[in-house]
């Protein structure tokens, strides 16, 4: 059963968000990395670029599948996880810690309000699986 840590918000497209003041750390969930299989490549925006809530901001590829990454919040990218880009397998090993993808300075922290709580997301993926 895929892990769903508390303290995070979740999207229907299987991203997680950790809000600390107005800085959002974003990644993909355990369920997502499991469905994808061994991740071979990740494409993320560069530092300084902006992302828009609900718009695709990157791509994660495995041998047999590819998924767009959708922005759960709007804001400016302040940090990208470079070690992840060099070793995409980190997202399979540790999707919530070492496998974090990017940090974003959020314009409007209320962006997370329509995202799912851990329990909601757990139910959501149980339905799917």
């Amino acid at each position: 059963m895929a892990s769903v840590p508390s303290g995070l918000n979740y999207t229907k497209e299987h991203e997680w968000v950790l809000m600390e003041d107005n800085i959002a750390t974003i990644g993909i969930t355990d369920f997502a990395q499991e469905s994808l299989g061994d991740v071979t490549y990740i494409q993320l925006p560069k530092e300084g670029e902006t992302i828009s809530k609900n718009d695709p901001f990157g791509v994660v590829e495995s041998v047999k599948a590819v998924s767009d990454l959708y922005a759960p919040v709007s804001g400016r990218v302040i940090e990208v996880n470079q070690p992840l880009l060099d070793a995409p397998e980190l997202v399979n090993q540790d999707p919530y810690t070492d496998g974090w993808m990017l940090k974003v300075e959020v314009k409007d922290p209320s962006d997370v309000e329509d995202l799912m709580e851990p329990k909601e997301y757990k139910d959501y993926i149980e339905e799917k699986g």
């Binding site: 061994d38 071979t40 490549y41 590829e61 495995s62 041998v63 047999k64 995409p88 397998e89």
Partner: protein, 494 residues
């Protein structure tokens, strides 16, 4: 039950790349030197010669012969690949295609000097039109995917001439991956249609789509029989609905091997369809091409066909250029060498022979299905034609063994796996198409292999995690290949 084991050990030599055999200064093939002063360019002349191999004739022959022994092929054994129609490739076709009068002909010859070639194209186009029950045909597209694009572009040209551009193409979610990709290329948005639980396209869902999108629908792309091997029984009704709003019905003819002489797309309401000569008409797959994807269409789409057209008048064949043509989808006339083989195949069989092909393809697939259905869960209960689809749900539920493992295990039994994980609507799909050129004996042996695998899984004797183990190379690290791509000898990205 006897242990099924088609694999043995035999002489199959390892081999480095041909470049590793080079020795500086070695001369290979000799061209005749023209008896004139030999010169080299002075302007833009090449500084450093391209580093091609320097090997002898025997080295070349050994190298590629060794490589060939590492391949599985139809000539070696059954290829139960669903949707690919891996039937026997008749050798007479190779002989005919190699005739100098077909192979050494330049397409820019004046028409009077290539009447045989032009006539061949004309005869094949007419035969393919007749087989489909449609009015005209072009053999220019180089492959099925290009054929799809061509069909959609014909539709676009038609709509633009008669009332304006439309936006959407409806595609069942069981369709082959090239279908939505061809849509985008042709300038349409692909709207997925859910396939019903019984595997059929549902009239209700088409009606729903029509009421939602109306005259913005340009076409619906179908495959019939569909990718689960099931005949779309509602197709005529759906065609009527589409025609009612001026939309077109296009058909992916990948599964024509099921219905030659048994059902004509023209009678189903199809407006345009593409064939795959390398599937239905036996032209060899050659490790990934060449093929051909001819497109047959109704008269109202014919004015837009790719240029040039071969026409006949008083027994003379010449070229005509249509003013409303969509242009060209391939250089010259298309893959003429493939056309020779396909026409030979068609003439070898005749209309009765082609019907027998489909009849036997359907019988073989149903026979195989019956032998397997006690051991694997069927993907759909509806009657199927030339292919059948199973899922891995039984093996996953009971022993957590997936389709990929079953597929790799089959290789250790001496078989190419079936098509896996397609269609997407069946979880862990195994799509199996034996074709008519397999004997019942071969089908029994294939079934025995599948069943032996199922039994080993059931008895927990093996989960086939390590498979394949008997093949020339062990399990290939595809993840590593994607993570750190090395795409030529000089490419050391590591």
């Amino acid at each position: 039950m006897n242990e099924i084991n088609k694999t043995t050990t035999s002489i199959s030599l390892k081999e480095d790349t041909i470049f590793d055999r080079s020795s500086s200064g070695r001369i290979g093939f000799e061209l005749p030197a023209p008896k004139i002063p030999l010169k080299r360019p002075e302007v833009f002349s090449r500084n450093k010669a391209a580093e091609l191999p320097e090997v002898s004739e025997l080295q070349v022959v050994r190298h590629f012969t060794r490589l060939s022994t590492w391949n599985y092929a139809i000539d070696l054994g059954t290829f139960p690949l669903g949707s690919c129609t891996m039937k026997y490739n008749p050798r007479i076709n190779e002989e005919l295609a190699a005739l100098p009068g077909f192979s050494d002909v330049h397409p820019e010859l004046p028409a009077e000097l290539c009447q045989g070639a032009l006539k061949l194209i004309y005869l094949l186009e007419r035969a393919l039109a007749n087989i489909s029950g449609l009015d005209a045909c072009t053999v220019q597209p180089a492959a099925g995917a290009v054929g799809e694009f061509t069909g959609l572009t014909l539709i676009r040209a038609f709509h633009e001439k008669h009332g304006g551009h439309r936006k959407y193409v409806l595609i069942p979610d069981s369709a082959h991956g090239t279908n939505p990709a061809s849509c985008i290329l042709a300038g349409y948005e692909a709207i997925p249609l859910k396939v019903g639980k019984d595997g059929y396209m549902s009239v209700e869902l088409v009606e729903e789509a029509i009421s939602k999108y109306g005259r913005d629908i340009a076409a619906l792309m179908t495959t019939n029989p569909n990718t689960l091997g099931v005949f779309e029984r509602n197709i005529s009704q759906i065609a009527e609905l589409l025609h009612g709003i001026g939309a077109q019905l296009c058909m992916d003819g990948a599964n024509m091997n099921a219905i030659l002489g048994i059902a004509k797309p023209g009678d189903m309401g199809v407006d345009v369809m593409q064939y795959n000569l390398h599937k239905t008409f036996s032209t060899p797959h050659g490790g990934g091409g060449p093929g051909a994807g001819p497109v047959a269409c109704r008269a109202h789409l014919a004015p837009f066909l790719p240029n040039p057209r071969v026409v006949e008048k008083n027994g003379f064949y010449h070229l005509e250029y249509l003013p409303d043509s969509i242009g060209k989808v391939k250089g010259a006339f298309g893959n003429f060498g493939v056309m020779v083989r396909a026409l030979a195949y068609i003439m070898n069989h005749g209309s009765s022979g082609l019907r027998l092909v489909s009849k036997n393809a359907v019988i073989n697939a149903n026979y195989l299905r019956c032998r397997l259905q006690k051991h694997y869960k069927l993907g759909t209960q509806t009657p199927h034609f030339h292919e059948c689809v199973f899922s891995d749900s039984k093996q996953i539920e009971e022993n957590n063994v997936k389709t990929i493992q079953i597929a790799k295990a089959l290789m250790d039994y001496g078989y190419h796996p079936p098509t896996v994980y397609f269609p997407l609507t069946v979880p862990g799909a195994m799509l199996i198409e034996p074709t008519e050129t397999e004997s019942l004996q071969e089908l029994d042996e294939l079934a025995d292999a599948f069943i032996a695998i199922a039994k080993k899984i059931e008895s927990k004797e093996d989960t086939f995690e390590k498979s394949p183990v008997k093949t020339f190379v062990g399990k290939v690290d595809e993840v590593g290949a994607a993570r750190k791509p090395v795409l030529s000898l000089d490419d050391r990205a590591l």
